[in-house]
């Protein structure tokens, strides 16, 4: 992963925003699902292959209050977790 890589969500994964403060990501190919919080939903919605992690962090700071200093690390960890699960991948920047 580099600063120019742009993560993109797997289109077959379903984001279910069940309540204002609770959502799940569901993989219909495995039947597995896991819960995510509103910040994770915000990040997921920006995984369209056009945003770098810095872009997402900037949008997060614009739209949310009290974003912690370590937010970039948290975003990277969350996205890496999604990549490991097969829920997202990196749209590599052209060499």
């Amino acid at each position: 992963m580099t600063n120019t890589d742009k993560p993109i969500a797997n289109a077959s994964i379903v984001l279910r925003e069940e309540f204002d403060d609770w959502a799940i990501l569901f993989d219909p190919d495995t039947g597995k699902a896991f819960g995510i919080n509103p910040v994770s939903v915000f990040i997921w919605k920006h995984l369209d292959g056009t945003n770098t992690i810095d872009d997402i962090l900037r949008e997060l700071r614009i739209n949310c209050d009290n974003v912690p200093e370590a937010a970039k690390n948290h975003i990277e960890e969350f996205i890496q977790d999604l990549v490991d699960r097969g829920y997202a991948e990196y749209n590599l920047a052209p060499a």
């Binding site: 279910r16 309540f19 219909p28």
Partner: protein, 373 residues
């Protein structure tokens, strides 16, 4: 009441047709027994809306789902729209080709096949000649092709003394991982055949004890969310709590038995949206005409049914003087409706007090205590 933006799962009666006419079928002669099936394209359009609503799972039922020639096309539509599916079937129309197709989709959670006897004579008594051999062949076909198979046994007058042999057939001989049970309930065709198929109080008492023993013997591989086994567990705990004068159970004392109105919706074979496949008389709208998400979130009738959970049992004349009231959740709303004509009422079928007054006997508590599951 806080409600999800959309239900997680939807039950789909994809056809009103069936090759069998089981005497206790809950579908035929109910309000869900409609005069037409939706064409393929209507279902496919609706699956796109279900995708939009982020539905995770659908359960295909009927009638008999395998009766539809376009079943593969419908399933492809479900897969295309990011859902998983399961199927409820009598098992008699399943062949290698369709079983292999189900596996190839990668989205089939399983097929539930009804087996009601250890032999053809018991099974066929209410389902029709030849159906046992066909259903067993259907199960073998599914398993050979790698489809997850579950079995549902409906307990009735003709098989209540056959339960142990049924368990042996399914768990020992066929090596099915587990099976679930219920009972012929006062819905659909069972209403006209009640005396012929429904358990007497004595038979129900026998079924509760023998099924509880089987559950222990097979280490939890026999289970239930309705019928004699479920009642045995619930009612024994209620009796134990009453004797000990324990505090009431969580959510008990109100009409809280069913959480279905908070998690799923159902569609009749003619496309009418209903709260539950067992409550086909409550029409909430029509697919491809009404907004499915809005029906789920805002329909006054559905919200009224959700409010059922706030209705105390103490409000009902039926429950006055009952010592079990703080341990009771009122039973199935659909059965309450078919038995009393109103859904805002406890189900008489789920009433322990009434069962005991009619001469019913609970199993020995030590059987429940000895259950390993």
């Amino acid at each position: 009441m806080k409600v999800m933006n959309s239900p997680r799962s939807v039950e789909l009666a994809i056809t009103n047709q069936c090759n069998l006419r089981c005497r206790y079928c809950s579908h035929f002669s109910s309000a869900g027994d409609v005069d037409r099936d939706l064409p393929t394209d209507e279902w496919l359009s609706f699956f796109e809306e279900l995708n939009f609503c982020r539905i995770m799972n659908v359960t295909l039922q009927g009638g008999e789902p395998f009766y539809r020639d376009d079943l593969p096309e419908l399933i492809e539509g479900i897969v295309r729209n990011r859902m998983r599916f399961s199927i409820l079937s009598n098992g008699t129309l399943i062949d290698d080709k369709i079983a292999a197709f189900l596996t190839a989709t990668g989205r089939c959670d399983g097929v539930q096949v009804s087996i009601d006897g250890s032999t053809a004579s018991t099974h066929d008594a209410n389902r029709g000649k030849g159906s046992f051999q066909q259903a067993i062949a259907g199960i073998e076909c599914l398993r050979k092709n790698g489809v997850n198979v579950s079995v549902r046994v409906t307990i009735h007058k003709q098989n209540v003394r056959d339960i142990e042999a049924i368990a042996k057939l399914l768990l020992d001989d066929l090596r099915i991982p587990n099976f679930s049970t219920n009972a012929a309930s006062y819905m659909g065709l069972c209403r006209a055949n009640a005396e012929m198929v429904q358990l007497t109080v004595e038979e129900r008492s026998f079924a509760m004890e023998s099924m509880l023993r089987l559950r222990t013997k097979y280490n939890g591989r026999v289970n239930a969310t309705a019928g004699p086994l479920y009642e045995a567990e619930c009612w024994l705990r209620m009796e134990k709590a009453r004797r000990a004068r324990s505090d009431g159970f969580s959510e008990a004392g109100y009409l809280t038995a069913c959480r279905g109105f908070l998690s799923q919706l159902a569609i009749r074979a003619d496309g009418v949206i209903v709260p539950c496949i067992q409550m086909p008389h409550v029409e909430l709208g029509r697919i491809n005409r009404d907004d499915f998400g809005m029906v789920w979130r805002d329909h006054p009738e559905l919200n009224r049914l959700r409010e059922r959970r706030a209705v105390p049992l103490s409000e009902f004349e039926f429950c006055q003087g009952c010592e079990y009231i703080n341990y009771c959740t009122g039973g199935c709303p659909a059965l309450a409706y078919t038995l009393t004509g109103v859904d805002f009422h406890p189900s008489p079928d789920a009433c322990l007090k009434r069962f005991l007054e009619a001469g019913g006997k609970l199993p020995e508590e030590k059987i429940l205590d000895g259950a390993k599951y």
